[in-house]
């Protein structure tokens, strides 16, 4: 028998070797290998999905923060403007009050001056009246009755008022 012999036993043996090898490989090699490959594929797919969702979240967060920042910026601007306005108002108030106070004091001072002046005039008038009475009494060297005195006094005061 040589290489070219065709023996049924060897033909069947060759096929059986293939079939048995296939069965063993399927059970002990391909099954775990294919499972591992499938698991890897799933893992990669999952990771890609996760990465996508993370990127989306990050993008959303970034936009949110941008919005917040912009809002904060606007708020700050608004606050500054408001503070400035309030400051100006306050300053105006202070100035107004100062002016008011100043004018009040001025008026008070003027009134007091007027008052003093009136007082002084009154005193002077009284003194003048006494002096006039004295002088007149001396001049006439007689007693003037009370009625006359009053009349004269009035007359003199009137004259003095006109003198003023």
């Amino acid at each position: 028998m040589s290489s070219t012999s065709l023996t049924l036993g060897n033909m069947i043996a060759g096929v059986l070797q293939w079939v048995i090898l296939l069965a063993l490989m399927r059970l002990y090699v391909y099954k775990p290998l294919l499972a591992a490959m499938q698991k890897r594929r799933d893992n990669i797919a999952k990771q890609i999905t996760e990465a996508d969702s993370l990127r989306e979240q990050a993008e959303k967060l970034r936009q949110e923060q941008e919005t917040l920042l912009k809002q904060a910026h606007d708020d700050a601007k608004l606050l500054i403007a408001q503070a400035r306005r309030e400051g100006e108002e306050e300053a105006r108030k202070i100035v107004d009050q100062a002016q008011r106070e100043a004018s009040y004091r001025q008026r008070a001072a003027l009134e007091e001056i007027q008052h003093e002046r009136d007082e002084a005039l009154k005193m002077i008038r009284a003194e003048v009246a006494d002096l006039v009475l004295m002088a007149t009494g001396k001049l006439l060297e007689r007693n003037i009755d009370e009625k006359d005195q009053e009349r004269y006094l009035d007359q003199i005061l009137e004259d003095a008022g006109q003198l003023q």
Binding site: G14, W18, Y30, L33
Partner: protein, 230 residues
């Protein structure tokens, strides 16, 4: 060529077993500590082989046939590669009476080819239905007489599969032996080194290519039979 019902050749049977064991050990090593992260070493090699065959089969075979056909053809390919290379190894005992490629004996390739022939007919019946299968055999391309063409085509296929593999591997071994049998000729050692080395490399390539051709043709024939639009 002698056909024998009762005879048995032990050397190709034993080397066939050896090839089986080598493939199985390689497979077991590949899935030992199987990794779902980045594969390395034997696992990486086997995974790329699996993916290559998935692509190859996926391009030709119907979807429902593809997963099984992938494993079937990959196993056939691995077995044939190891079997083909076995007779070329520079190891003690190789090339003596006992150790040759099992595929350098006609029986194993012929047995495989017949098994594949039967598988192809089976997949034809399974995917076309018995009616479609018979129409394919007897009515295409012409009614009734189409069977002559089809029988010729279908029968030539396993014969050519078997003889192509057997012839290539046997020739590879025989010529390799011849190159080692010339040292007593003038400058014989030079012939051994130059021609022998060159032929060894060539034979290794042939071993791979023949295993691949045998496998791809198997996939192609099965896919053609199984496709209903043919």
């Amino acid at each position: 060529m002698i056909f024998s019902l009762t005879g048995f050749q032990w050397p190709p049977f034993i080397t066939g077993l050896l090839a089986m064991v080598v493939v199985l050990i390689f497979g077991l090593v590949a899935v030992r500590n199987v990794s779902t992260a980045v594969p390395s070493g034997a696992q990486n090699v086997l995974e790329s082989a699996v993916e290559t065959f998935q692509d190859l089969v996926g391009q030709m075979a119907p979807k429902e046939l593809a997963p099984n056909l992938t494993l079937l053809s990959l196993t056939l390919f691995l077995l044939l590669v190891v079997a083909n290379v076995l007779g070329l190894l520079p190891l003690p005992g190789v090339g003596t009476r006992w150790i040759h490629s099992p595929t350098a004996f006609l029986s194993m390739p012929a047995g495989l080819a017949i098994a594949i022939f039967l598988l192809i007919q089976w997949s034809g019946i399974k995917y076309k239905g018995l009616g479609g299968f018979l129409v394919g055999w007897f009515w295409k391309p012409i009614p009734v007489f189409g069977v002559v063409v089809n029988a010729l085509e279908q029968l030539v296929m396993p014969v050519s599969l078997a003889f192509r593999l057997f012839g290539n591997i046997l020739a590879g071994e025989l010529v390799l032996r011849m190159t080692t049998n010339v040292p007593h000729a003038p400058a014989g050692w030079l012939v051994v080194i130059l021609v022998g080395t060159l032929w060894l490399v060539f034979s290794l390539v042939i071993s791979l290519i023949q295993a691949l051709i045998f496998t791809i043709l198997t996939v192609a024939y099965m896919s053609i039979q199984a496709s209903t639009d043919h």
